[in-house]
Symmetry: C2
Subunit: 110 residues, 2 copies
């Protein structure tokens, strides 16, 4: 026990959960926000932006990359990270859809 039983859920449910999980840490939210803030994608100073040690930041970046939320291109001896719009569009569409569904059902018992 202890491991998530992903096989019992639909692919879509697992996909959204994976994306949400990747964003379920303030450091990773901060990384996303920083990537959004800087105008160019030529980054390389994400480590200095966060109150965490370099290996920790590197690990968070890896997780965001694994979830498909960011892309990283090697640019000389540094790496150019930027947000992958596709993944963000998925999340946005998912919650947008939920919101409209919620608005349609006007039953408010609680």
């Amino acid at each position: 026990m202890g491991a998530t039983k992903t096989e019992h859920f639909t692919d879509k449910q697992n996909e959204i959960a994976t994306l949400a999980k990747a964003l379920g840490h303030p450091a990773r939210i901060a990384i996303m926000e920083y990537l959004l803030k800087v105008d160019t994608c030529i980054c390389g100073d994400i480590v200095n932006e966060l109150p965490l040690a370099q290996p920790t930041v590197s690990q968070h970046l890896k997780e965001l990359k694994n979830a498909g939320l960011i892309k990283g291109d090697i640019e000389g001896n540094s790496i150019c990270y930027c947000i992958d719009e596709k993944a963000l569009n998925k999340i946005q569409a998912y919650f947008g859809n939920i919101k409209t569904k919620l608005e349609k059902k006007k039953i408010n018992c609680c």
Copy 2:
């Protein structure tokens, strides 16, 4: 070590991360989708809808409730759960905002 360093991040970042984390499990996504699917809030059969034991489902419900994503009203000897629109609006607004920001910056280096 091992514990998340929430104190180093902004309240907003922690808030979004908490909501995302709560949704970062397929069972909890499935619960949200089920609550969305049923027309009335009078639930009480969430356990039967999921491929998990009753204590496990109860725990997931508790986490969703702690995050503010669902509300639970005692209704006789069963409990009436439903989605808390406020929390969902927060997430939706957050990702909606990110999406529009992404669309504005047309620089695509990766």
